[in-house]
Symmetry: D2
Subunit: 139 residues, 4 copies
Amino acid sequence: MLKNTSHSIIKFSEVDSLHVVWHGHYVRYFEDGREAFGKQFGLGYLDVYAHGLAVPLVDLQVSFKRILEYGDTAIIETTFIDSPAAKLMFNYHILSEKHGYVACTGKTTQVFMNPHKKELFITMPPFMEDWKTKWLKNK
Amino acid sequence: MLKNTSHSIIKFSEVDSLHVVWHGHYVRYFEDGREAFGKQFGLGYLDVYAHGLAVPLVDLQVSFKRILEYGDTAIIETTFIDSPAAKLMFNYHILSEKHGYVACTGKTTQVFMNPHKKELFITMPPFMEDWKTKWLKNK
Amino acid sequence: MLKNTSHSIIKFSEVDSLHVVWHGHYVRYFEDGREAFGKQFGLGYLDVYAHGLAVPLVDLQVSFKRILEYGDTAIIETTFIDSPAAKLMFNYHILSEKHGYVACTGKTTQVFMNPHKKELFITMPPFMEDWKTKWLKNK
Amino acid sequence: MLKNTSHSIIKFSEVDSLHVVWHGHYVRYFEDGREAFGKQFGLGYLDVYAHGLAVPLVDLQVSFKRILEYGDTAIIETTFIDSPAAKLMFNYHILSEKHGYVACTGKTTQVFMNPHKKELFITMPPFMEDWKTKWLKNK
């Protein structure tokens, strides 16, 4: 199971008039998590680009469980979901560093696209097969 | 079926390096839609506040279907989902004004909370019962 | 004097924990104002692009005078500053619709750039000369 | 001279369709810098709040010099400007980690306010005098 853990200090601009992180910012925390995962495991946007691919989101699910407040730090756990489908899927757990609880969970689904031809990949692109062989198959 | 339709001109700052609206901005479009719905039907944040309630999001689902580009306008259709549960639920359809297609669909679920006591309502608060009688029962 | 007036309803996500619009959002209001000006007078990003130009900001000045709150609407007045320099300059006045007062004033300076060659224009580009002749000289 | 240096990885969502950081995000980098400064020197929003004060921005100046791109990290240098006036002022230098150049400079001015009485301080509040004595006078 491939997992990255990153941290994001809650910013003043992320907190709304109810003194909690506005729900829309969690979507960016998910992207922060994906980017940190990509940096650790060679699967960042720029790595994917280098293979002539874009990976747009097609599905997003978020479950808000507890609040995050200013002065706290979000711990973002991003886990790769292995699947034979031509999709890139991640699970997220966002925890409060101060309280230890899970503030939010979520899942994203991305597809592989040729950005110029605007064509979707029906099968896993070779680059991704190689990546999976390297990181998952040998484990 | 209670539905509000609002419009949001795509801003330069909402478009990412792939020349399409960044996925996280759709979450704000949903909130824009809820606020426009609330203004039309007396169910805005300030109306809810006036009754001593907050309505935090507990669930968010987004399905991205087509792209929105700079120069286009998002048409946001926000539909109230009637339910006996003590929840506030909306469906969203976001359309491209230029192309006519559905770019995105989604659903949000909010709960009723006393912001000071931090207590959730297990049953529908009286304010919301009255609102439903006014807008739904008499139809 | 060329001036555009546009309106932006204050969004819940723009209000911070002090219950006022977070200062960073005014920069986007300025861009909203420029875009509305561009739409009215044929000087939008896409018009400028069509002539092979980009107009990046090089200077921004903002003076915050009064607050804007949720439930209010920002009235954005964007005024073209005529100058012989190879620059695009605007003044901004942001007013509270509810209170009538000026909440914020500001000024932006943009330069003309060939986005591919990354070259700055030292003199006014022909497209801009034509635009000024059309909108300013004949007045 | 009190100075804090912090780092912010450029996020995909911060980059616009010209493949550079959108100018409005620099305002948040400045706030990130102020928060990192506040954490280092005991002058964060929460420290200031604990003394019954808010410190709203009244002036913002930004000079954009070079671009920042995805894959780079912004180095944010935040320097306290000492002054007898009842104001809180900072200078900013934002550098590209990859290129070493200065991408942006700026300055912010904040005032001291009693958030409940909505009164401005004409003279330096005692809390701030003590802070200056601790961090500046003894140096």
